[in-house]
Symmetry: C2
Subunit: 321 residues, 2 copies
Amino acid sequence: MKPDPVLGVPQQAAPTGSPLLVVGSLALDTIETQSRRREEVLGGAACYASFAASFFAPVRLVGVVGSDFPSDHEALLRSRGIDLAGLELASGRTFRWAGRYAADFNNRTTLDTQLNVFETFRPKLPPAYADSAFVFLANIDPVLQSEVLGQVRRPRFVACDTMNFWIGGKRTELVRVLERVNMVLLNDEEARQLSGKDNLPAAANLIRAMGPSAVVIKRGDAGALFFCEEGVFAAPAFPLERVVDPTGAGDSFAGGCMGWLARTGDISPAGIRTALVVGSVLASFCVEDFSLDRFRSLDEAAIRARCAAFAELVRFEAIRF
Amino acid sequence: MKPDPVLGVPQQAAPTGSPLLVVGSLALDTIETQSRRREEVLGGAACYASFAASFFAPVRLVGVVGSDFPSDHEALLRSRGIDLAGLELASGRTFRWAGRYAADFNNRTTLDTQLNVFETFRPKLPPAYADSAFVFLANIDPVLQSEVLGQVRRPRFVACDTMNFWIGGKRTELVRVLERVNMVLLNDEEARQLSGKDNLPAAANLIRAMGPSAVVIKRGDAGALFFCEEGVFAAPAFPLERVVDPTGAGDSFAGGCMGWLARTGDISPAGIRTALVVGSVLASFCVEDFSLDRFRSLDEAAIRARCAAFAELVRFEAIRF
């Protein structure tokens, strides 16, 4: 594993496993935490998800950037073997997001959103992507999520994310997407909004009835809950003494999870449990620095070590009395 | 296990293990949830903790009630073998608390607090209690917590709880208590207030430096984190589709944990991990009904079944790649 001479990213063997198609936003983010501020750094749900997944499976990225998108960012994604044949370069400005985090990082305020090239984006998949076995529809307009699904022949496992904006504004279109996915990942407030239920297990059951057999509720530093017919799985967030920037944690979680599923091909409840732990591990790396900066130096050894630490985090002896 | 003819509580063999001394409040609570309201039901931190612990170890309860404390409540505690020799009956009214819960149960508003007989309470332990090996100082004035500790000869393991009111108002006295305890249990906001740190692992480390080698941060339905020199343990809350009343969940958690420690005598980090899972299980029963109502019909078989369900909740296969 010698570092790339230009980017400093460790070069690794291309991962085996089925190809994972990721569609969603690539963005230039401006982030304010209590102590620091970063301007126009690489971000976007699809970007975080693709990068996290790329440690485990070949990734195909579908999205759009503007003519102002720095070529370094493209090179960074390519350096991890991410296939950018589906990345459209549009004239105009790249999608931008700006936000500010509260001291405990559990609340953030969106300061600015500029859709820019995303306003007119219609995803057109390269023909070679039609055979993608695993698909992650990151948070974008559910109409676009459907359009992507329409261009994939017979995916084996599809997951989607969404947000309050679409649950409120394009509910019918979102419900149509949910009917076609195997798994949905959303945060607790979104689960409550979508289901109309305050209780999370009740919300998850109601959402499962809308289509997806697997429902994952993301709760930030409170971890995640996975509901399926077999039962419930609780994965804590990996506790870190130093969180720099939580942007992209949920997308890295989803990407790590989907990458693992594509790698192993095990989409059983037990396989999804393991994948969610891998997702938690990727999310824990993501928040250790701004943008995708922590991922740049990440290698398999570090991922493996944290997976072991995660197992230790939740270990307890059998209770007998 | 035949039910008690008067109270309907299953009669069980007295638990083995070291005696656990519990000091704290007994209360008459008025609870409002979104759908229901209960007036002047049995409550109080020491009451929940004692009852939860009584499934595992002999419990000695130190506290005070007024002359209006219903004899049925006393009989209920006695029915679980809880030793009430240390329960003072004062003239005056019993401590009262009233609160209202938000729809998601994660926020509550205190509507009323009447200290009543607690205003002048000074704990006087029966001489036989001086040999208590395990001590749980539930949330009361740290001055009283110290007075109790002063009357126990050589406790093997002492834990305490506290609240924002004492952290703000009697910090010096609280710090003196912390210097003498093995474990402190407090919620995330209290941990932040006590340590001045927003990050929970950082807060826990700072609190450990104040004395207790074990710090447990309770996070309601987000579970609990246990920090000690050996590392971190994360226990999720057991997800329930129907929560009726979360009052006393944290105290039942602490009581179940301390009862288990007193039963097994294993105060190693691994022993505490197991005890915290038992505490989570007891807390999960507590919230299924108002007051101690769910505990009335609880038996060892139900506890055992939920301990097994808890192990299943967090189970995942080893990650190898």
